[in-house]
């Protein structure tokens, strides 16, 4: 596989989780690594030497570092736990690497560390190794956190895009767009806000554990739709399995404050990041029962069955509107930006 990434420089869009991110990954990172022995595509987590052990890593930068419903510290723990969880692996231990910008207040660092520690503790995960670097003032943006997670495969987990079949159902565990819209508002660039908005950052393992324990290989595939939102996650699946995925727009849960903000700003909730939601593709025979299990859980009260995998081999995501018309739900292009009018 050759390098085909042709963009002259790295732009913010390359980190937004949409098409540009995929291009950076597929066109530059994967080709170079795979030509030296790595797997052809890098997944969010990797099953080490076909054993029961999964490993994943993730870096976290967020502005602001404290926002309604969460903090950088909680994101850094939950994000990595969730990458393991949706691979079907029970998180066991984490490592923690900090890059600190000189000048950041010790009090803030203490606050974020306490958030990191308590998020890990409440997930039953220990932080066992780490590293700290300090860069000059102006060379970083406060605090950058990298966490690496190790997990053990759930004994009943058999998750893979290759197991997804036409007719399989698509479930989401709750409302979409909460985290991304909360962050957009918390930045204070827009002259309006809502006291009803709150990030959904959460450790998804309990929800995943409940699903896998009950239905085992009836659960085919899972992801947490973070940057780029549900649209990007489903488009990646559609292109991996080379099949159409149809979503029923009316069934997708979106809270009123998020809908309202998206209507005003001209954003699509399907493109907005989530930090405590999962998408699962399941065997149609267990879809209703799986939905009930999700809904019984605190993290999945608003779970919904939102669509299904179709027979057609065109790798697109199609959204059926409430009155039966259709639109293609594309991946995010660039950063989500408000429209002019």
């Amino acid at each position: 596989m050759d390098v085909w990434f042709s963009d002259r420089e790295i732009l913010m869009a390359h980190g937004a989780g949409g098409k540009a991110s995929r291009k950076l990954m597929d066109g530059l990172i994967s080709p170079i690594l795979s030509s030296h022995g790595s797997p052809p595509t890098l997944e969010d987590s990797f099953n080490v030497a076909n054993s029961e052990i999964y490993i994943t890593t993730d870096s976290f930068v967020v502005n602001p570092r404290v926002f309604p419903g969460g903090t950088l510290g909680e994101l850094a723990v939950n994000g990595t736990l969730n990458d393991l969880s949706v691979s079907g692996a029970r998180p066991q231990v984490l490592t923690l690497a900090l890059i600190l910008e000189a000048g950041i207040e010790s009090k803030e660092l203490q606050f974020q560390l306490e958030k990191i520690a308590s998020a890990a503790e409440s997930a039953g995960v220990r932080i066992v190794a780490g590293d700290t670097k300090v860069v000059e003032h102006g060379s970083g943006d406060g605090v950058f956190v990298t966490t690496t997670g190790l997990g053990m495969r759930h004994p009943k987990a058999l998750l893979s895009a290759q197991r997804v079949r036409p007719g399989d159902k698509v479930l989401v565990s709750g409302t979409l767009g909460d985290h991304g819209v909360t962050i957009l508002m918390a930045r204070g660039d827009l002259d309006f806000t809502s006291e009803y908005l709150s990030s959904d950052t959460a450790n998804l393992w309990p929800l995943v554990d409940a699903l896998l324990s009950e239905f085992g290989d009836g659960v085919r595939w899972m992801r947490d739709p973070t940057r780029g939102g549900l649209a990007s996650t489903l488009n990646e699946l559609a292109s991996d399995i080379k099949a159409e995925i149809e979503i029923d727009e009316g069934a997708v849960p979106v809270s009123d404050p998020v809908r309202g903000a998206c209507e005003i700003l001209g954003l699509d909730p399907f493109h907005i990041a989530n930090e405590g939601k999962l998408v699962a593709v399941v065997d149609p025979k267990i879809a209703q029962d799986a939905l009930s299990i999700l809904q019984q859980h605190r993290l999945g009260e608003k779970a919904a069955l939102i669509g299904e995998v179709k027979e057609t081999d065109l790798p697109v995501v199609v959204c059926r509107t409430r009155f039966g018309a259709h639109r293609t739900l594309d991946m995010l292009t660039g950063d989500p930006l408000p429209r002019i009018c």
Binding site: M12, T321, R322, F323, R327, D330, T333, C341
Partner: protein, 373 residues
């Protein structure tokens, strides 16, 4: 959600769709929606799927980001690179590529370019950074022009000196006339722009009915609004009536918004001529800052040199803009021209006809698999 869900009521939508299907006669109806917001809604809600086959929707020139000529983008980028300024612009303008580079690339190299949601945000940045010059890149039709005008008046009242406006506001009437004067003009009726009409009212469309004998129905942006307007147009066309109608009565008044019009008149005057992307030069189709407020004119302050950049080869934006061709007729569609790497004007903004078509329809059509994405 109130004021939204009522207008997306599936029963009402299907009822309107069936009324339209019953109303149409055995003839074709070529309807142009002037506003990019309508184009976006039509594709987002799949409204074209609810219409009988003999109604054809043609996407007009009302996408303010799309019609901005490449030369103006190049002028803006030149201004940013040769002057130590904080440059501010609306969100979706940020994505418009110039002929050599786009704003995001310039920003990645360290230029201070910031997204604002309103020109008053740009003024606030100027007040917060008294030692820096702040430029606002003003674009848009009469929809956004009043807020720019009021911001300039406000800056003047406060005596702010480190703020200026690179004014590229345009007006909706002249391009409409230009389309109708084209020898290939073949449109039976217009879905009139909603937002811009809240400012200018209905009077400026009189010529559409009186000189060109076409009906125009000013419309809201929700599915029921657009379908109701299409139904009204079909009835008017069948009755052979050319008139100016207002479907968007909850927002648009006959006389428009007098306070907004007054602010515009105070601050702006017509430019003798202005270049439109895809349409060429149109007389008296844009606004510039009057002498009274010339101290806020970035063109004068930074001696902006006019740059004319040719349109990319092979693109058929101009013909799509006047309704002669459809986005899917363009050989570049989805091949070299995509929302990620827009070549032509109409792919630039999510309101552009080609971007809307690409995003919501193209990838589902069978021939799309030759595309780069």
């Amino acid at each position: 959600m109130r004021f939204v869900d009522e207008y997306r009521n599936p029963d009402l939508i299907l009822e309107l769709s069936s009324q339209i299907k019953k109303q149409v006669k055995d003839r074709s109806y070529r309807l142009m929606e002037i506003c990019g917001g309508h184009t976006h809604s039509i594709y987002r809600f799949g409204i074209h799927e609810l219409l009988p086959e003999n109604i054809e929707l043609i996407h007009g020139p009302g996408c303010p980001v799309c019609v901005l000529p490449l030369g103006k983008v190049d002028e803006a980028l030149e201004l940013v690179q040769t002057n130590d300024v904080i440059f501010t612009a609306f969100g979706d303008v940020m994505r418009v590529p110039g002929s050599k580079q786009d704003r995001f690339e310039v920003k990645a190299r360290g230029a201070d370019i910031r997204m604002v949601y309103s020109p008053t945000d740009a003024l606030k940045i100027a007040l917060d950074n008294p030692d820096k010059e702040v430029v606002f890149f003003a674009i848009g039709f009469e929809t956004t022009a009043p807020s720019t005008a009021l911001t300039i008046k406000y800056a003047d009242a406060l005596g702010v000196s480190n703020f200026s406006v690179f004014c590229n506001h345009v007006t909706v009437g002249p391009p409409l006339r230009s389309i109708m004067e084209n020898e290939f003009f073949d449109i039976d009726g217009f879905i009139g722009p909603g937002h811009v009409s809240t400012v200018i009212g209905l009077e400026p469309y009189r010529f559409v009915a009186e000189e060109f004998f076409r009906p125009i129905v000013v419309s809201g942006f929700e599915p029921t609004d657009i379908l109701e307007s299409i139904l009204a147009l079909v009835r008017l066309i069948d009755a052979g009536k050319a008139s100016v109608e207002n479907q968007y009565i909850r927002a648009v008044k006959q006389e428009g918004n007098l306070a907004a019009l007054e602010a515009m008149n105070d601050v702006f005057e017509e430019r003798p001529s202005f270049e439109w992307r895809g349409l060429g030069y149109i007389d008296f189709s844009a606004l510039r800052i009057k002498d009274t407020y010339s101290h806020y004119d970035a063109e004068l302050r930074y001696k902006v040199q006019s740059i004319s950049s040719p349109e990319p080869e092979g693109a058929i934006c101009g013909e799509v803009l006047i309704g002669m061709k459809k986005p899917e007729d363009c050989p570049l569609m989805g091949v070299t021209c995509t929302p990620e790497y827009p070549v032509g004007a109409l792919m630039v903004s999510s309101e552009g006809a080609c971007s809307a078509y690409y995003t919501y329809v193209h990838r589902r059509s069978a021939n799309s698999r030759t595309g780069v994405n």
